[in-house]
């Protein structure tokens, strides 16, 4: 079972013949997304939100329709809770600057899991550095699993913020965010969920999940670059000061007085990326058309195929979970004596695109005792042939690097 049937939706596969297995870094874009963005500029390009003429009204409508599309995608209560940003990183920095710096002080604690991507870690260190709050790390076991009891213990009355990714971009593990959210709410803190790796693969329902903030990137879920999302609970967003200031986020500016716009515009300073939002909206339509069920079925089958083959390669060590089900399309690994950099270079020579490095998760790798790793990451448009070529190539590497097993 694989994604051959969907490859025609993606123009790049007609042109580029390498096997793209670096999907956690960014996804490929279906034609409908590219055409939606192109179409925006071709048919209704104007600066949204300020003009009265039909073109600007249409541009505004396209942009706000995209917001409504995103709202529905994560089942938020209101479009006021959907803020367009550039990417996950900006979304989390917005929370850090506007919520973090203004609500934390000395002796407060920020609980962050050690598995986080730098984008859900460094902003919290910045907040800690500037407010005097303390960072407390949550550690999983070597399989990447968090003990609920450890979460209960780490989160205390001092915890003002708990930050965790829904799916780890290195281990592919699904984290116990529900537990974390419930626990941090018990002590009156807020939960920040990094959904960069989950949004492209699973339905998110913020009403059920109940995070205070949730962030994701368009480019990882078939949308264009330059557009991301921050979901925030309305009461919180309303109480927060703006992050960036400038045009489009103020109603009145006089010599010595400023009245900020209502949500969500208060947090969207300057000309918005309407073309990007329209592209993201088309990406959500595409996801809905294919369906997460279909995507997951393929992705699970491909993950299993890769995992089973990799298990049997001598000297290969998979980071994290001991079964395919725990990996959600992401399998990072090391190969004895061969630097991941060289692993990926040899794969590359064989026409296979994977990533090697620290995957923007330095502390996690330090915790796991590795300097870097090679990562395979799948999307539903991948094929069994690609997986087989990948595992065959990996199996040949040690010999090609001068080791006789």
């Amino acid at each position: 079972m694989d994604g051959k049937a969907f490859r025609a939706d993606f123009p790049i596969f007609e042109i580029e013949k390498s096997m793209y297995l670096d999907n956690a870094a960014t996804s490929q874009k279906p034609k409908c997304v590219l055409e939606a963005e192109y179409g925006f500029y071709e048919k209704m390009n104007a600066n949204p939100l300020r003009g009265f003429y039909p073109l600007s009204v249409e541009a505004t409508k396209a942009y706000e329709d995209a917001r409504e599309k995103v709202r529905g995608f994560i089942n938020a209560a209101s479009v006021k809770e959907i803020i367009f940003t550039r990417n996950t990183t900006e979304s989390i920095n917005l929370i850090a600057y506007s919520y973090g710096l203004n609500n934390l002080c000395r002796n407060d604690e920020i609980v962050v899991s050690i598995t986080e991507h730098h984008s859900n870690l460094l902003p919290w260190r910045m907040v800690a550095d500037r407010t005097g709050a303390k960072i407390k790390y949550l550690y999983p076991n070597k399989e990447g699993e968090f003990d609920p009891a450890a979460i209960d213990e780490a989160i205390t009355e001092r915890t003002k913020i708990a930050a965790m990714g829904q799916v780890s971009n290195v281990l592919g593990s699904l984290n116990p965010i529900d537990h974390l959210i419930k626990r941090v709410h018990e002590v009156g803190g807020v939960a920040v969920i990094d959904a960069a790796q989950s949004a492209p693969h699973m339905a998110i329902d913020v009403k059920k999940m109940n995070p205070d903030f949730l962030a994701f990137s368009g480019h990882k879920m078939f949308g264009p670059m330059g557009i991301g999302v921050l979901y925030g609970r309305k009461e919180l967003l309303e109480a927060m000061p703006p992050f960036m200031e400038g045009g489009e986020m103020v109603d009145i500016v006089r010599f010595d007085y400023t009245k900020y716009s209502e949500l969500p515009h208060k947090f969207e300073a300057g000309t918005v990326n309407a073309g990007g939002a329209v592209g993201l909206s088309a990406a959500i339509d595409y996801i809905n058309k294919v369906g997460f069920d279909t995507m997951n079925e393929i992705e699970e089958s491909l993950t299993k195929r890769a995992f089973e083959a990799m298990k049997n390669i001598p000297h290969l060590h998979i980071l994290g979970g001991d079964s395919a089900e725990k990996h959600h399309g992401i399998i990072s690994f090391t190969l004895d004596d061969v630097h991941p950099h060289d692993v990926s270079a040899i794969l590359e020579a064989d026409g296979i695109d994977v990533r090697a490095g620290h995957h923007c998760a330095g502390p996690l790798l330090e915790f796991l005792g590795v300097n870097s790793a090679t990562r395979l990451s799948l999307m539903f448009y991948n094929t069994e042939e690609e997986i087989d070529a990948f595992t065959k190539s990996v199996a040949s590497i040690r010999e090609r690097m001068g080791f006789n097993d």
């Binding site: 950099h341 060289d342 270079a345 040899i346 026409g351 490095g357 620290h358 300097n371 690097m401 001068g402």
Partner: protein, 141 residues
């Protein structure tokens, strides 16, 4: 499918059995070099006798290209004057950029085995890591 002959014998040998990957006692200069692209991280350790590089070694962790390149570099510069080492570093870096002349490349001896990296933009930083660190260690650049 077969890999382009990028990992040639000289490279894999210096990687599998590096001669100079070891600590140096009481080094005069110690400098960390990092290649953020892949997390290569080497510590270059130099012992000087006046202007002469009396001994050198490196520790750390990195890809075959960065390791072999550092190992070959150290083999080349031990016993040389600081100025001569910097001259070689300059040639090496220009070779990797595809800008060195043939006779210059010849003067790099074994290090010329890395010349094909010039065609692999993503590996350039690995290849020059040790050499850049050397330049920095001597206060150049």
């Amino acid at each position: 499918m077969e890999s382009r002959s990028f990992y040639n014998e000289i490279l894999t040998e210096h990687n599998v059995s590096p001669y100079h990957k070891h600590d140096i006692e009481n080094p005069d200069i110690v400098l960390e070099g990092v290649n953020p692209n892949c997390g290569d991280d080497i510590w270059l350790k130099l012992k000087c006798d006046g202007d002469i590089i009396a001994d050198a070694g490196f520790t750390g962790d990195g890809c075959a290209v960065s390791q072999a390149s550092a190992d070959i570099m150290i083999g080349l510069i031990i016993g040389k004057k600081k100025e001569e080492a910097l001259r070689l570093a300059d040639i090496f870096i220009r070779m990797i950029k595809g800008e060195a002349r043939e006779e210059e490349i010849d003067s790099l001896e074994e290090a010329s085995a890395l010349r094909d990296v010039a065609h692999m933009p993503a590996r350039v930083k690995c290849a020059v890591l040790g050499w850049h660190t050397l330049e920095e260690a001597f206060g150049n650049n």
